[in-house]
């Protein structure tokens, strides 16, 4: 597909970005590899809806726009790097600016699905390469020399024979008049100076000296603070409230209702607004609110979990079928069945949900930590009837995302409050709000069936998933399998001739959400532990059993072979130790782990963790290592800490003391290996390191102790 660059409607664009003195402005007609055309924003008419990505000012300042909010995953470096590499400029000479969902920046302004690099790799390099070629053409024209005698380096164009040079700033205006190349020549990867290298991230120094601005750090003139009381019984309705005592608290300026909008889940809360956050918290304590629980105060985790077990008896909708599972299973000489259970968990980013919103003269301004500026622009212009040009979104550094900040429920509340009181409002959720209110990653329960031939080969396999859905719909069409809730279960490369994977929907009234690596975080556990159970039943080594089902070449086979090599899989371990392996492929990518554990009293100790992530192409190996180590920690927390449970409709956990996260003393050493052998598919970084960790750990525990773990979470100190 033709990828052309464009030079965007400059006046409008400059007004949006506040940049003056721009020479060259290059953008994309869409943001998706293969579909985008690169455009010259200076030459284009008003009608263009283009995404500007790079601006070169006459002063020489280069600004690169990042449409992928920084949530810790490294897009503040990896996305600008794609342009900077081709533009021949180092990142320390570039200003990086987050976009705020402006229509002119096009779609795909979000961070999620480990999608940022893998969907931008070619299109953004083309933006950089086009700018470079236009600058070179402008210089060659000025010098009246052939383009072939010129090259770009370090933000300058050089004439090779004479050695003379011109800076990009000096060339920007002339370059803007050059026709955008139809097919800019991309650099040969062997000449890369940024991509594929462990390049320092420009946000790191700011995060070390305390100057990085997160949403919660924003302060605007006239701002007041809000703390919102929401019913501890989720799914309740607000009946009435008495704010007389709250209004007597010094500093309290107003008490107002607001609605939390989270897809089909809606709930009203009562906000206490004050001159200081502390006063807002004191005022909130003095509120008297009456709720109608709608019967949800009878909800308990134990009862709901039993209802999931009961629901597993249903046949379910077919998600994927191949061969004849039912017949093969019925007639198989060796068969096994197992039932796996996982918990509800919280995202718990350390920066609580917060938002500063200011409504003034029909214009709305929002400052927040969010993964989805594009969604906020679309959703809020409609919900609050604001024209896109009257909505300004400032995307701040996110103090953790993990999927939580894909949902702007906390932004809705702040916007409603500023509209009501006519002053800028900063709403901050307490940690208790965050822990109790969700949205939560739902559990999945899995009913597994497998069959082996007499010589121990896998001949039939079934993964039946029982769960609610992320869209929280009660009227779910039970004849259909939900692809998100069955994520990856039919994508594994194991060659098993007869397979029938199923889905049973079971409603849950709670606010639910995607969590880092979504449903693969629970399904990989049941899937890869059950594969291990089949290996044990077949009396085969778990690694050999898996590789035996991978006769065809595949990335999965490469990952397992690499894990076998780096972990010295065949080398005997000390007595009392065990090792386990797991891999999982899903929409975001592919990773695998080997975990080694030893018996320690009644529990186990994680001795060593080997990780392999398959990317095809890598942008920043240092970031990838950090992401995979971090994913392992998050997976460990989800496997061995309490998770979220409910009694009488209320969340039992409230803060980090009873919703614990893994701490530094519990952190295993994780050795990360990256497979980047090219190939057509670029895979994601942020999520694939998560799903295979828990099954590799539990398979290792089985190897060390003979105890098969089929329910998360479990107590790592009480295994035997």
């Amino acid at each position: 597909m033709a990828n052309q660059l464009t030079n965007i409607d400059r006046r409008n664009f400059l007004r949006l970005t506040g940049i003056t003195g721009a020479g060259l402005v290059l953008g994309l007609s869409a943001h998706a590899d293969g579909a985008a055309t690169v455009e010259n924003l200076a030459a284009a008419g008003e009608s263009f809806e283009l995404t500007p990505y790079v601006v070169i000012e006459k002063s020489g300042q280069i600004t690169i726009f990042n449409t992928k909010p920084e949530i810790g995953q490294g897009t503040f470096q990896s996305i600008p790097a794609l342009i900077a590499e081709e533009l021949e400029v180092s990142l320390d000479k570039v200003v990086i600016q987050h976009t705020g969902g402006e229509k002119k920046f096009g779609g795909a302004q979000f961070s999620g699905g480990s999608a940022s690099v893998r969907t931008s790799y070619t299109s953004l390099r083309k933006v950089g390469a086009s700018a470079r070629e236009m600058l070179i053409t402008a210089a060659a024209t000025q010098w009246n020399v052939p383009v072939s005698e010129c090259y770009a380096s370090d933000a300058k164009v050089f004439h090779k024979p004479s050695g003379k040079s011109l800076g990009y700033g000096e060339l920007a205006e002339a370059a803007a008049k050059v026709e955008v190349p139809k097919e800019p020549r991309l650099k040969d990867p062997k000449d890369f100076t940024i991509l594929g290298k462990s390049t320092p991230r420009p946000d790191v120094p700011l995060k070390v000296n305390g100057t990085a601005q997160f949403g919660i750090d924003v302060s605007v003139p006239g701002m007041v603070y809000a703390s919102i009381e929401r019913c501890p019984v989720l799914g309740s309705k607000l009946v009435s409230y008495d704010d007389s005592a709250a209004k007597k608290v010094k500093g309290v300026v107003a008490v107002e209702k607001c609605e939390r909008i989270h897809g089909v889940y809606r709930s009203e809360g009562v906000a206490v607004i004050a001159e200081t956050y502390w006063a807002a918290l004191q005022g909130r304590k003095a509120l008297k609110v009456t709720w109608d629980h709608q019967g949800n105060d009878k909800f308990n985790s134990k009862t709901y979990e039993q209802s999931l077990r009961d629901a597993s008896k249903q046949e379910g909708a077919v998600e994927h079928s191949q061969g004849d599972f039912d017949k093969t299973f019925a007639e198989a000489p060796v068969k096994l069945e197992a039932f796996y259970e996982t918990p509800i968990v919280s995202h718990s980013p350390i920066e609580p949900m917060n938002c500063v919103a200011s409504w003034k003269d029909g214009s709305l301004e929002i400052w927040t930590s969010t993964q989805v500026p594009g969604r906020i622009m679309d959703e809020f212009t409609k919900t609050y009837d604001v024209a896109p040009e009257k909505l300004k979104i400032h995307v701040m550094f996110n103090g953790g995302g993990f999927g939580r900040r894909l949902y702007p429920d906390y932004v809705h509340e702040a916007v409603q409050l500023t509209k009501k009181i006519g002053r800028p409002v900063k709403s901050i959720w307490t940690r208790e709000d965050d822990t109790r209110m969700g949205p939560f990653r739902p559990m999945t329960f899995s009913a597994m069936k497998g069959a082996l031939s007499a010589d121990g080969k896998a001949i039939a396999f079934q993964h039946k998933v029982i769960s609610p859905t992320l869209d929280m719909r009660k009227d779910y069409d039970k004849t259909k399998a939900d692809r998100t809730m069955t994520e990856g279960i039919s994508e594994q490369k194991y060659e098993i001739a007869n397979m029938k994977n199923l889905y049973v929907h079971h409603y849950l009234h709670l606010p639910l959400a995607a969590w880092r690596a979504v449903t693969s975080t629970t399904l990989a556990f049941s899937h890869e532990c059950f594969i291990d159970e089949m290996a044990v039943k077949a009396k085969k080594d778990p690694m050999a059993f898996r590789l035996g089902m991978l006769t065809k070449e595949s990335d999965t086979k490469n990952v397992l072979n690499k894990l076998k090599e780096v972990s010295n899989w065949d080398k005997p371990l000390p007595a009392g130790w065990g090792r386990g392996v797991a891999q999982y492929e899903f929409f975001a990518g592919l990773g695998g782990f080997v975990v080694e554990v030893s018996k320690k009293g009644t529990g186990i100790k994680i001795e060593k963790v080997y990780a392999v992530i398959d990317l095809g192409t890598v942008v920043n190996p240092d970031t990838v290592e950090a992401q995979v180590q971090g994913a392992a920690v998050m997976a460990l927390t989800a496997a061995v800490k309490s998770g979220i449970t409910f009694e009488n409709g209320q969340t039992v956990q409230s803060n980090y003391h009873n919703n614990q996260l893994v701490r530094i003393n519990e952190m295993p050493k994780v050795e990360v290996h990256i497979l980047a052998n090219g190939g057509p598919r670029i895979k994601g970084v942020g999520e694939p390191g998560l799903p295979p960790f828990a099954p590799a750990l539990c398979n290792a525990i089985y190897a060390a102790t003979g105890k098969r773990i089929r329910r998360l979470p479990f107590d790592i100190n009480k295994i035997v």
Binding site: D217, I350, Y656, I664
Partner: protein
């Protein structure tokens, strides 16, 4: 009015005495490098030094800080603090970065008392600082690196 000495500067804040020091630092003095995470001394994001000792400012009444020397991430400038910050950048420790001010304040306090900490020392001193991104492995390496920088 309550008088506070933060990073060698004196501030007067109009705060109720029981208000946590954190909100005085962030909302009244305007130093936002110190973060709010939990409000009950469970996560360590709000760690500052009070007379050189690490303190969870979210659970420390502002009245208790009167007459004491408060240091926040913005004021961390002496040799050990600089070494910690340098090691943090060298090893690219932060991911989202939100907890890192607190991590750095705790690590600096550790190195002041134990310039050559063992892994067990690090576990003991840093257990109170949560990192949801899971940067612990690099935090450990960076503390050892800062220790080297201090010795050299």
């Amino acid at each position: 009015m309550i008088k506070l000495t933060i990073n060698n500067q004196t501030y007067e804040v109009d705060a109720s005495p029981e208000m946590p020091l954190l909100w005085a630092i962030r909302d009244m003095v305007g130093l936002t490098g110190t973060k709010f995470g939990c409000g009950m001394a469970q996560c360590g994001a709000c760690t500052v030094h009070v007379d050189g000792n690490p303190v969870r400012s979210c659970s420390f009444p502002v009245s208790a800080a009167v007459g004491k020397k408060i240091t926040t991430i913005e004021g961390l400038s002496e040799r050990i603090g600089e070494a910690v910050k340098k090691a943090w950048i060298e090893l690219q420790v932060p991911q989202c970065g939100y907890c890192q001010s607190g991590q750095i304040m705790s690590a600096t306090a550790l190195l002041k008392t134990k310039p050559k900490p063992t892994d067990a020392d690090i576990d003991a001193a840093m257990q109170g600082n949560l990192c949801r991104c899971g940067t612990y492995q690099r935090i450990r390496s960076a503390i050892h690196r800062a220790s080297e920088l201090i010795q050299s």
